[in-house]
Symmetry: C2
Subunit: 408 residues, 2 copies
């Protein structure tokens, strides 16, 4: 007899790391809804609704606004492998770990990649981006909006103008900011943007909303192919090089999402239910209110941590609203503190990667957890954990300053 293990009963954690975070209760409920066939008229209607809802979230009129069935990283790879033709020059400004990821994915897609780097905790000036662009004259620029590894958000408006004015395509990874910071895709002239649900959108990982405009569509449709098993006699392949991946072939995924409804993958019904509900939650609150709440959360947690005698990481002018980096104080064992938070308080905060490993913690305040209550609970627990490691700090000062910060 096979070992079946216990009934599923995860502990009730407060997830205050850089993501995943707690899902909104309405999203969890949506995922328990009964399944539908992928060509059921009602399911196709839900797909259309999901497109419309994510047009709202992305602030775009793009027809092609759809979901890629995989984690946020799947959305990145779908965008890059569908845009990049082998040998294309691609510029990637790297200001943290996820910039390196973009470079690595672009290289595997056959791009001739040029990266520029800036110290972790800073972003690029418009001049730096412009200089690198004009030197390389890339076909494609790929960049993160917010990189959780450094808690920095890169301003994109000037880069959008630059790419548009010079006939380059701009891809933006907005996994970490969508639904938490303003990202007006059309106004900023971003050609392709992808994201995930597990950060500010308040859902589980496993679904990547993606939007692309007509400039990107034109490039992708040159490479359109239809699978041998389902071609009809009128089929004519595009004259561009075949996209290297079938699963991430956006031309095929567009055919699947269009009224043609050409079979490709079997849509992940439950994740689509989740994505649809995430967008309804965010748009129901209203984007301006959502962004303001995340900004308040950032103020509150920053004020609280500072009042506790901790030092914030990175350039405050470019800090993401939804993730805050803070130095682990001297004499404190960072991993032990995180473990104590989890085991004694059921609160998760984040460690860090690369050059910041062991130096900073990262605290997320996003989605359902961008609230005064979640922040105060986290700071009080952190105070207790730090005190247990003999770090001297003024009792209650963190929570008081955070409450004041929350009120503005």
């Amino acid at each position: 007899m096979a070992e079946l293990f216990e009934d599923l009963d995860p502990p009730q954690r407060l997830l205050m790391g850089p993501g995943p975070i707690n899902a909104h209760p309405r999203v969890l409920q949506a995922m328990a809804a009964p399944l539908l066939g992928q060509f059921d008229p009602k399911f196709r209607e839900y797909m259309k609704q999901a497109s419309a809802l994510y047009r709202g979230v992305f602030q775009t009129a793009n027809r092609w606004t759809l979901l890629v069935d995989g984690t946020a990283r799947a959305g990145i790879e779908a965008a890059l492998v569908s845009l990049i033709e082998p040998g294309d020059r691609v510029l990637i400004p790297v200001f943290g770990r996820f910039g390196h990821l973009l470079a690595e994915i672009a290289r595997r897609a056959g791009a001739e990649v040029r990266t520029i780097e800036t110290e972790w905790g800073t972003v690029f000036t418009d001049e730096q981006l412009s200089r690198a662009f004009l030197e390389l004259r890339p076909k494609i620029v790929a960049v993160c909006h917010g990189d959780t590894s450094t808690t920095m958000a890169q301003p994109l408006e000037a880069l959008g103008r630059l790419c548009r004015g010079n006939d380059a395509l701009l891809y933006v990874d907005a996994t970490a900011t969508l639904g938490g910071m303003d990202l007006p895709v059309d106004r900023w002239q971003l050609d392709v943007v992808s994201a995930g649900l597990q950060k500010c959108m308040g859902g589980p990982s496993g679904c990547a909303p993606l939007t692309l405009n007509e400039r990107a569509e034109k490039r992708i449709l040159r490479r359109r192919h239809i699978e041998e098993g389902i071609r009809d006699k009128n089929y004519k392949a595009g004259d561009g090089p075949m996209i290297a991946s079938n699963y991430f072939d956006l031309a095929m995924i567009m055919d699947y999402w269009s009224d043609k409804a050409l079979n490709h993958h079997t849509e992940a019904t439950t994740m689509l239910y989740a994505a649809r509900e995430c967008a309804r939650v965010v748009l129901g609150e209203g984007l301006p209110a959502v962004f303001a709440r995340h900004a308040r959360a950032s103020q509150a947690i920053s004020a609280g941590l500072s009042a506790m005698g901790l030092k914030l990481f990175g350039d405050p002018r470019h800090k993401m609203a939804n993730v805050t980096g803070v130095y682990i104080p001297q004499g404190v064992d960072g991993d032990r503190a995180r473990r104590a938070l989890l085991e004694e308080h059921d609160i998760e905060i984040g460690t860090s990667f690369g050059p910041l490993h062991g130096k900073i913690w990262r605290i997320g305040t996003m989605g359902v957890n961008a609230t005064e209550d979640a922040i105060l609970r986290t700071l009080r627990a952190l105070e207790q954990v730090l005190a247990a490691q003999n770090f001297k700090l003024p009792a209650g000062a963190g929570a008081a300053a955070a409450a004041a910060g929350w009120r503005g």
Copy 2:
């Protein structure tokens, strides 16, 4: 104000197509469970449990038994792109649409693909496979176990011996049969096998269980690379060619699932909960009982359809237990009948692809729907729908024969 659409409330369909089918209620419940961080000790425990459970389902001792975050097609692509090095000779026996899919994915991965084909509705003899193999001497053979497009299941035991004896790797797409038909991975000497949840496993699409043995591991680890953002100083890349996809790089996914827990994607928590529960349901019933139930369902639906004067499709000796093809009778509009089943009876059955389009319907009897009740309800509704199109058939004969067939 953005349009928010109505609350999620999908109709209660009985999904009797070739998949997706209805999820087991316990699986739906599991997906409403609270999220955990991906490095939470409890979550890592659930990952280990999922590995152990799928070892049971795949009947394997393979250490590397894990989940790929995407639909069944994602599992196929992860297997093929990680195994195939550009220029490799790959043999693909095609007996339906999903064989063509394997060929297309293998070609995109840079393989030199040779396909052999057999008429839809038949499978290959051991001799045909052996002849093609010895002629091509491929490095890899990729084949479907069951191809829902034709309802046929390919015998694999001799092919397993052939590949093992000639130093080729055998990949099997078991999406359509896992949890419905016997698939002893180790005994049949299958090197890599992937599947999905949305067929006999009784879950939603969006997660691909995959298992690979030490022969496959050896090939994949030659190509191991670690992302630039998270390498440590002891890192040494494999000397094989880099895998063309980051998302589907099984060497990275193995590092993520191992105790090293190297960051890669953010595990799709909810889909992992679903996959874990699917396996608990299947193993809880017991594999022999599950297979016997699917075999009974096949007998019942076949007997019922025949008694209604309908003709079954394909070679009955190699029919999948969980999908049945049946010719659309002369004078009946197949799409109109399917629409009537859906709209008037809330029952979905499948259309078909390619050479069978417009000729056969495909009826699934799998997972929670491999029951007498679901079969009788489907046959009674089909009788009513056929009668409405003036197809003469003996009243009640289908259900009576199916009930007798169910009893054996």
